[in-house]
Amino acid sequence: MAVLIGKQTRAIVQGITGNQGSFHTRLMLDYGTRIVAGVTPGKGGTTAVGLPVFDTVAAALEKTDANASIIFVPAPFAKEAGMEAIDAGLTPVVIITEMIPARDSMILIEYAKNRGATIIGPNTPGIITAGESKLGIMPGDVFKPGKVGLGSRSGTLTYEIAASLTHDGIGQSTCLGIGGDPFTGLNFVDVLKLFRDDPGTDTVVLIGEIGGSAEEDAANYIRDTKYPKRVAAYIAGRAAPPGKRMGHAGAIITGTEGTADAKMKSLREADVLVAEVPSELSRLLLQQVSPLQ
């Protein structure tokens, strides 16, 4: 069991003919993901990575039975690419593209919400259900099937932590990046809700970072709903100074808000197991027995 994607997922790749799009399509196929078609405006009728390419998502849907999409198109076209996928009824829509204007993301996320579609990203490494399906750019081999659901605002740090969990014998159900931008389709509360209802997940790991209040909101949600599963977290950016954007558009401490220490404090107060360094996560999970077991 897992959330959002699995063996049933049949995806199209929007922007398949670009460098990133074709490179990662190959890796996703290698992982066993069912990619059924690509979409690139003006390239309909050609093939890429052995897949048929269509001019529009609607045209792809006439010939395939896709139910999800992963988007690699350049930032100026990402909002419409997302709308196009949503109009075609695809979900989730994974948006790898980074540097999308915040206004565009804001409108697209509202568009998805009103139409019942799930957006993952933008500026996300994607989502992987270990051993089943990967819609993203993460290295597949660091993940192995298990019962830890993982949500992260980061990319490589997620691989780092997943690799260390895997190394320590702790497998994962689904791992997903919510995205490094200020506006993302899913936040940590959404991730917690998804894993709560997944029988294949008994523990949730959240990998947060400075900026915004997604981690504080998650802490409040866990406390207020007496969240029924074990939650552990690591927050990156304790050494980051205020006012500086640490790579991600979303990773910036403004005023006194969004510091790592405040986030760690909130999470601890909600009985979340908070790791001081990434490698501590495995130790915390192995020491503690899941309340469900």
Partner: protein, 379 residues
């Protein structure tokens, strides 16, 4: 991209937002002439992008043009939080009946724009929000339909405005919102908004931050965004020109990694073990030998750096490319500072062989590598 106050006000005026009479000056003589032209009491304001210019003495008053010239001379010789003052804004001091606060921000938690407004303007609004949260109104805007006149009017009403004055404030706020849309602003903030004796509202100060990701549709800012902003250090500017996400910090351990989250975690680890990071440097996903080499050259070239920590978790990035970049630097200019490499993931073996052939080794665990690099500096 932060706009200078005078840039923000120029845009605002074109949208029908009132601002005090005045103009920007690069020399004290220009400042004097502006005061002559506008008359009355003048305020002379340092044009810098850093916050806190008031406390730093970057805002002065003058009642005569010659005084304005002298104050402008003083301000134009200042450096505020590391930023050289190059221009001053000379404006007529407005007679305020009341000072308000109004701001339109990106609201991450609610995925919309939110208006913040208060009748306690001209002061530190975060302080007001802490001490009397009920004094700061928050009103969310629909993500698609934005600010309708009734949104603005409800805020005007809650600030206590009635009748015609309510309409005047509604228009003022609607224009600030229009500015935020037209210029893709992350932030539009006026503090204080001055309510004049005649009932008009004036943006006495105005901060606008344009979303960097939207610059492709704002050709008017493209030249401006390329100028080295005073906020960016020379090292940062050099690194960013080379396509690296780079932030300069106070410490002495240079950090290179791939992925923003991993680099942040690397800084945290170094600090955890008692070291002080000299920078944040993300070479990005899929970095090649050249990226890595450039990053290493720039960082080991900085005087303050006493040791360098390269932390790579290769996924899309390949260890052999990373190793090649490091070895290239060693060959061409030599390794000038102690170097600790942690490198795992895709093509790990190939990468390590390349390192070994140049007499270098890589570690497995980032914890251990972090401890080691800290010990090199402490030693």
């Amino acid at each position: 991209m932060k706009l200078f106050e005078y840039e923000a006000k120029s845009i605002a005026q074109n949208l029908g937002i009132n601002t005090p009479r005045g103009a920007v000056a690069s020399t004290s003589e220009e400042a004097r002439d502006i005061h002559k032209r506008i008359g009355g009491e003048a305020v002379i304001k340092a044009q810098v992008l850093v916050a806190g210019r008031g406390k730093a003495g970057g805002i002065k008053f003058a009642s005569k043009p010659d005084e304005t010239r002298d104050r402008a001379t003083e301000i134009l010789n200042m450096t505020i939080k590391g930023e050289r003052v190059k221009k001053v804004l000379v404006e007529q001091k407005a007679a305020a009946k009341k000072e308000l606060f109004a701001s339109i921000v990106l609201d991450r938690a609610n995925r919309c724009q939110t208006v913040l407004a208060s009748d306690q303007g001209g002061v530190d609004i975060e302080e007001v929000a802490r001490q009397a949260p009920e004094k700061v109104l928050r009103h969310r805007l629909d993500p698609v339909f934005g600010m309708r006149s009734y949104d603005a009017r409800l805020i005007a009403l809650k600030l206590g405005y009635q009748g015609a004055q309510q309409g005047t404030f509604t228009d003022f706020l609607s224009n600030l919102y229009r500015l935020s849309v037209i210029y893709d602003a992350e932030l539009v903030e006026s503090n204080p908004v001055i309510e004049m004796q005649d009932g008009r509202f004036l943006a006495a100060d105005l901060r606008v931050i344009v979303d960097d990701n939207s610059l492709f549709r704002h050709p008017e800012f493209q030249e401006r965004s390329k100028e080295i902003s005073s906020e960016v250090t020379a090292l940062e500017s050099k690194a960013r020109d080379n396509g690296l996400a780079f932030v300069e910090l106070d410490g002495d351990i240079g950090i290179i990694g791939n992925g923003a989250g991993l680099v942040m975690a690397t800084l945290d680890l170094v600090k955890q073990y008692g070291g002080k990071p000299a920078n944040f440097c993300d070479v990005g996903g899929g970095a090649n030998a050249e990226h890595v080499a450039t990053a290493l050259q720039i960082i080991q070239g900085a005087d303050k750096v006493k040791a360098v920590f390269v932390n790579i978790l290769a996924g899309i990035t390949r260890c052999d490319e990373v190793a090649k970049g490091i070895v290239d630097v060693k060959k061409v200019m030599g390794l000038k500072k102690p170097l600790v490499i942690r490198m795992v993931g895709t093509n790990q073996e190939e990468g390590r062989k390349i390192l070994q052939s140049a007499g270098l080794t890589a570690m497995d665990k980032m914890d251990e590598a972090a401890r080691l690099v800290v010990s090199k500096v402490a030693a």
